[in-house]
Symmetry: C2
Subunit: 210 residues, 2 copies
DNA sequence: CATTGTGAACTCATTCACAGCG
DNA sequence: CGCTGTGAATGAGTTCACAATG
C-alpha cells in the first residue's frame, strides 16, 4: 500500500464499488473481476484496480476479488465498518424526510438528535421517537450523545450560523443541504448536497448536448 | 468565444458564480472583479476568468464585471433564463419535501405533476394543490404538460423502471435521488444526488485527515 | 493463462504570467 | 493604471500496456 495522494474521485468510486459488491453478494457471486466491477459501475477496469491499489493488494491474480472480503476492506477504508451518530438542525420538510429515510440506519448512520429554533416545533416528538430539541442545547447534546456528524437542513440564511454552532461544539463533519456556501475552520469538513446546482447542470446539458 | 471542450466543473462553478452575483446585487454592488468573485466562491481568480472566457468576453478591462449583466449572461449559458417543467415519481417523505421546497419555483423549476404507483396515494391532493397521478398516466401527462425534467424519489428497487418510463416518454433529463446506478440511452441525461455517498466521503476524511 | 498491480503515457483541468485594453 | 483575456506551464487524474504471479 502506497500513501501517495489519493484522488477525491477515488473515494466516491469506492462507495460505488461497495454498493455493487453488496448486490453481487446478494446475487450469489463469490468472486468478481475488475472488468466486471468496472462494467457495473461504468468506469474503466484499470481505474478499479488503481483505486484499490492505493489501499492494498486485495485481489488474486488470474482470479479476481473475493466479493465479501473486498466489501469488508472497502468498509474499513471508508470507515463505515462502525456506527456514526448524527445530529440534524432544521426540522422542516426536508429534515423530516431525512429523519425517516431508511437508507441511513441500514448503513450505520443514525440520527440521535434533532434540533430547531422554532418554539412551535421544540418539544414535539417525531415518528422516529426523537424529540425536537432547542438549538441552544446543541453543544451539550453533542457531548452527551457523541455526535460526530452534523446535518444542516435549515434555510440558507441561517445555515452559516448553524455551521458555527456545530463547529464550536467540535462537530467536525457537516453535511450541508442548504444552497449556500458555508465557511468553517480548517479542521471542519463539509460536504454539500445542492439540488438546484444539479438542475442547472441538466438544463445546461439539455441546451447544449442535444 | 471559443467552443473548445468545457470542463464539467466549469458548469458547476457558473452556478456558484450566479448565486454570489445575486447576493452581490442584493448588497448593492454594481461591478465585481474576478478576484472578489473568486474569493466569495473559494476558487482562483484566473479560474473565474477562464470559466467565463469559454462563453464570451463579459468583462471590462481595468474595471471588472457588471453584476447584473453577468447574471443574465450566466442564466443564458445555463439555460435557466426560462421556466422548466418537472415531473416527480415517488411521493414518499423525500418526494413530498421536494414538492414543497421553496428553492425550485424561485429559480424557475416547477413541479407540474406528481406520480406514484401506490393506490392509497393516487388521487390525493398535495398541499401544493397538485394531485398525485397514477404512474401509468406518465407518458400522456408528459406530453400534455410539456415535462422536460424527471425527478426520481422512489426506492432503489424501482428506480430503473421509472427511468425507463421517463426515457420512453421522451423525458431526456433525470434527477435521480435513489441510491442506485440507473442505465439510460445515450440521449438521456442523468444527474444523481446521493446522500450516503457524501456521508461515506465524510467518514473517510474524518478517519484520515484529522 | 487469466487477471492483478503498476510505471509510463496520455488526457484533462487548473494556475501562472503577462500581453492587451478600457 | 488595473483588471480582463489567454497562451504557456504546471498539476492532477485516467488509461494504456505489460510485467508479475497465483
Amino acid at each position: 500500500m502506497k500513501t501517495g495522494k489519493i484522488p477525491k474521485a477515488t473515494i466516491t468510486r469506492l462507495s460505488f464499488y461497495y454498493r455493487q459488491l453488496e448486490l453481487l453478494e446478494f446475487d450469489g457471486y463469490r468472486m468478481v473481476s475488475s472488468e466486471k466491477l468496472a462494467w457495473l459501475c461504468q468506469v474503466n477496469p484499470a481505474q478499479v484496480r488503481k483505486d484499490l491499489g492505493y489501499f492494498g493488494e486485495f485481489g488474486v491474480r488470474g482470479v479476481g476479488y473475493d466479493v465479501i472480503d473486498l466489501q469488508q476492506e472497502i468498509k474499513k477504508i471508508l470507515a463505515v465498518n462502525r456506527n456514526w451518530n448524527m445530529g440534524i438542525v432544521g426540522i422542516g420538510n426536508l429534515g423530516s424526510a431525512l429523519l425517516q429515510h431508511q437508507n441511513f440506519p441500514t448503513r450505520g448512520f443514525s440520527f440521535v438528535a434533532a434540533f430547531d429554533s422554532d418554539e412551535n416545533k421544540i418539544g414535539k416528538v417525531l415518528s422516529s421517537g426523537l424529540m425536537i430539541k432547542d438549538i441552544r442545547d446543541l453543544k451539550e447534546t453533542v457531548k452527551e450523545l457523541n455526535i460526530e456528524i452534523g446535518v444542516i437542513t435549515t434555510p440558507p440564511s441561517v445555515a452559516q450560523g448553524v455551521a458555527d454552532i456545530f463547529s464550536e461544539a467540535q462537530v467536525n463533519a457537516l453535511l450541508n443541504f442548504s444552497p449556500t456556501q458555508i465557511h468553517v475552520p480548517e479542521t471542519c469538513l463539509v460536504e454539500n448536497i445542492d439540488f438546484t446546482i444539479k438542475l442547472d447542470i441538466l438544463t445546461y446539458k439539455l441546451k447544449n448536448e442535444i
